[in-house]
């Protein structure tokens, strides 16, 4: 390679919003319904049906806009993007071209060099998702499922400000954090609730002009985004180095082959004949509305991390994990408030919770137990009502169905044997039944006490505190 090249990347990120109902009708947005069960005249494009905007969509879009330092458009509009395709029941998609809800924002990311940089947000606009085509190759027919038709999306269009895959991932992670913290979406790339299209061009280092860009689609994970960027950068440089020129086109990335292929070139670009949708009234956003949304914005991760370090004195590593999900952070804060034991709470989250989440292939957002019950459980161990192995058992039950630990311990008789007399009797029994071990211990084999403790615990059915048993045995053995 004779020259050094710089990669220039901009992203178009589609995010499916977590509203209960669709953007222009009252149908459910839930996944997994029977084919065409979440549909009505509006989202199937029946003659005479009309769209009515779901206000929650605007709220989420504004909230994301505020988090990413955007200007909020006070008088916005929806436009029709006209194109024919069977998954698009009206043959136009209701989107925003002329007056998108948010503009001119930025997201601050950390760079590899340890500094930070701003990635510009050109705009955020609201639009509706399309249905899904189902191809039956045996019957030679294609069918359409309109359950996803009308599910609300926001499209976040960045400026071409990123220069490496690392920056792209940092930007996406930051966006995802904001959106998850806002509860606006779960942002799962694999499941398509977050989709990123990569616009990429290369230019010789120092060049003022951008090169010709391509757009890459079908990127379903951070790994495939990273691979796609590397392969596309290489492809474009090869073309330029061999004297050719890059064609502006849309390319589809094949994750298995690790390469992309052309879908359509700019010459095939359709004229979408955008115009304001006359069925919808302008989206008027008042100052009060913005203020109201602002007042509800959560504390985002960077601020939270700084505060945790200051307030709770738990390790940075724990802070990183706990604040990665707002659901986890919420439980942490609430349980800490109730128990006054940040380290204990953190420990339960870092060890048992993460283990069970991983085991059951769940996300922190799926956690069922309440912060109160976790605090109660910690209270039980603090007061030595139960020992740690019983606590784990109770926690597993709690993790399952948010069982009340206090009631559970009571009902199942899991309280530690605190009756000194009864415990002493058990110890004496164990000493009497295990003369060999007693002999060993007395002969100086300190380890032999372990066996006796174990036997005592066994007879006490696990309800005894090992520490107490240990000292009691030593006492009895003189």
């Amino acid at each position: 390679m004779s020259r050094e090249y710089e990669t220039v990347i901009g992203l178009e990120v589609h995010v499916e919003l977590a509203t209960k109902t669709k953007i222009f009708c009252g149908c459910s947005t839930q996944f997994g319904g029977e084919v065409n069960s979440h549909t009505c005249p509006v989202c199937t494009g029946m003659p005479g049906s009309l769209p009515v905007l779901n206000k929650q969509v605007v709220e989420y879009a504004i909230a994301v806009g505020l988090a990413t330092n955007c200007e909020i458009t006070r008088h916005g509009k929806f436009d029709r993007k006209n194109y024919f395709y069977p998954d698009n029941p009206q043959n136009y998609q209701i989107s925003q071209l002329y007056l998108p809800i948010c503009r001119n924002g930025y997201v601050e990311i950390e760079t590899e060099a340890g500094g930070s940089k701003k990635v510009g947000i050109h705009e955020i606009h609201m639009e509706e998702d399309a249905g899904k085509l189902i191809h039956d190759e045996w019957a030679e027919v294609s069918l359409v499922d309109y359950n996803r038709s009308g599910v609300p999306l926001i499209e976040i269009v960045s400026e071409p400000d990123m220069r490496s895959a690392e920056e792209v991932i940092a930007y996406l992670e930051k966006l995802r954090m904001f959106i998850r913290y806002l509860g606006a979406s779960d942002c799962k790339l694999q499941e398509g609730s977050m989709r990123a299209d990569v616009n990429l061009s290369v230019r010789p280092v120092g060049a003022a002009e951008f090169g010709t860009r391509t757009e890459m689609k079908n990127l379903n994970s951070f790994t495939s985004i990273t691979h796609a960027i590397a392969s596309e950068r290489e492809r474009q440089i090869d073309i330029l180095e061999s004297g050719g020129s890059v064609v502006q086109e849309t390319r589809r990335f094949d994750d298995n082959k690790g390469e992309s292929y052309a879908m359509r070139s700019k010459e095939d670009a359709q004229d979408y004949r955008y115009f304001p949708d006359p069925d919808l009234i302008p989206v008027e956003v008042s100052e009060e509305w913005i203020e109201e949304i602002k007042s509800r914005q959560p504390e985002f991760r960077p601020a939270k991390m700084a505060r945790y370090k200051e307030e709770y004195g738990i390790p940075d590593y724990d802070i990183g994990i706990i604040t990665d999900s707002k659901a986890m952070a919420d439980i942490f804060e609430e349980a800490t408030k109730l128990s006054g034991q940040p380290k204990k709470v953190s420990n339960w989250l870092m060890v048992e919770t993460l283990r069970l989440l991983k085991e059951q292939n769940m996300d922190p957002e799926d956690i069922r137990f309440s912060a109160k019950h976790l605090a109660d459980l910690i209270g039980l161990t603090e007061k030595r009502v139960i020992n740690s192995s019983v606590a784990k058992e109770v926690f597993e039950k709690m993790f399952e169905d948010d069982t009340d630990p206090v009631a559970y311990v009571e009902e199942h008789g899991l309280k530690q044997e605190s009756d000194a007399g009864a415990l002493k009797a058990i110890c004496e029994q164990v000493i009497a039944e295990n003369p060999k071990s007693v002999e060993d211990y007395k002969a100086g084999k300190e380890k032999a006490i372990g066996f006796l403790v174990g036997q005592t615990m066994k007879l006490a059915k696990g309800k005894a505190d090992p520490g107490t048993v240990n000292s009691l045995l030593k006492e009895l053995l003189g």
């Binding site: 029946m46 009309l50 359409v144 115009f275």
Partner: protein, 478 residues
Amino acid sequence: MKLTEMSAWELGQKIAGGELKATEALDACMEQIGVREDEIHAYITLDAERAYENAEAVQKRIDAGESLGPLAGVPMAVKDNMCTEGMLTTCASRILGNFVPAYSATAVEKLKEAGAVIIGKTNMDEFAMGSTTETSYFGITRNPRNTEHVPGGSSGGSAAAVAAEECIYALGSDTGGSIRQPAGYCGVVGIKPTYGTVSRYGLVAYGSSLDQIGPLTKDVRDAAAVLEAISGYDEKDSTSLDRKDLHFTEALREDVKDLRIGIPSDYFGEGLDEEVGEAVRKAAEELKAAGAKVEECRLDLVKYAIPTYYTIADAEASSNLERFDGIKYGYRTEEYTDLHDMYKKTRSEGFGAEVKRRIMLGSFVLSSGYYDAYYLKALKVKALIKKAFDEAFSKYDILLGPVAPTTAPRLGESLSDPMKMYLGDIYTVSANLAGIPGISLPCGADKEGLPIGLQLLGDCFREDVLIRAAYTYEKIRK
């Protein structure tokens, strides 16, 4: 007096008073249909079976003492571009020739609630595009006053059905004069309300920003009563207005004293038939004699109304009609090689010439490179036209003029010259562009006995003034 000669109000009173059964009123209409329908062809769909079921059901409600309002039990007809659950809704097009909606338009629902008995669906210009009802895929409708002439359009079937007494009243829709002009040609009363007064939900859209549903009736009282029944805020239509002043029957007073009536000289220029002009001026004199203040005025910009209207209406129509693609409902071509071939053939075969002409015009004015020069400019002129009306209504309560330049043309005359047909809309389209209400009522006849229509235009939300003046004039004429 024959039952079918009665107004809806009179018939409704008899039914409510127990003098007449709803089924007897229906019998009378069916008898009249038997006499005249073969020649007139006002209906696309006649559903006697369902009509009798409805009449019996309404009668039961009346017998049970339910208070249903003045229209209960009165047989009526609905223009075939409004969805009627379980009843064909074709828009007079081959492409919807087999379409049976799963829901009813809000206006239809409201009438059903009020005890209306729907006889059937009336003929119209295909997708409401035309001024003569000659573009219907299902054949022409004749003017009951003179069967060599057109009934006007696009709500020609509704106007003809009322004029031929094949129903007592009907619903029409008005995008550029489609209620007022056929009412004028057939000698009945028609109102286009203020945009947003009647829900458009379930009205198959032509020009969404201009479409309004309204009544076609025998007299002004019926028009007020029907409008009162169908108007009101609808959460399913974002463009519907929450008006509190919907008691239109309260405006039925003989009183035009001090009413300021302006006569725009621009409405009496070139192209206006002499007899029509005379009849309209005579009506103005009569209102003056009754106490109104009448004076000539100017309403510039009228000459821009036609190009502005056709640019906006066709642009919206080109997008609104995209959903008719053979995928989900309606006509699909027999043989095709692939998806695009199917689209092309279906739409080529499914739409008539006038519809295709307007889709092409509309697609053109929205296409990239022409959008600003045509569509955007038309929107600006539309705003100027609204401003001109605002100024006029600061001086006058009513603007009075003809509905159309001539009386009903002979069958076949208009189709050969679409430009001439478009120019025939000159007096009606401005009201749609400005969103203001208009009423059309008979004010005489020409030498051949064809009715002449008088048009009164009012400021937004002032249907009451129009109804009062029209009611007064109607009394003077009788």
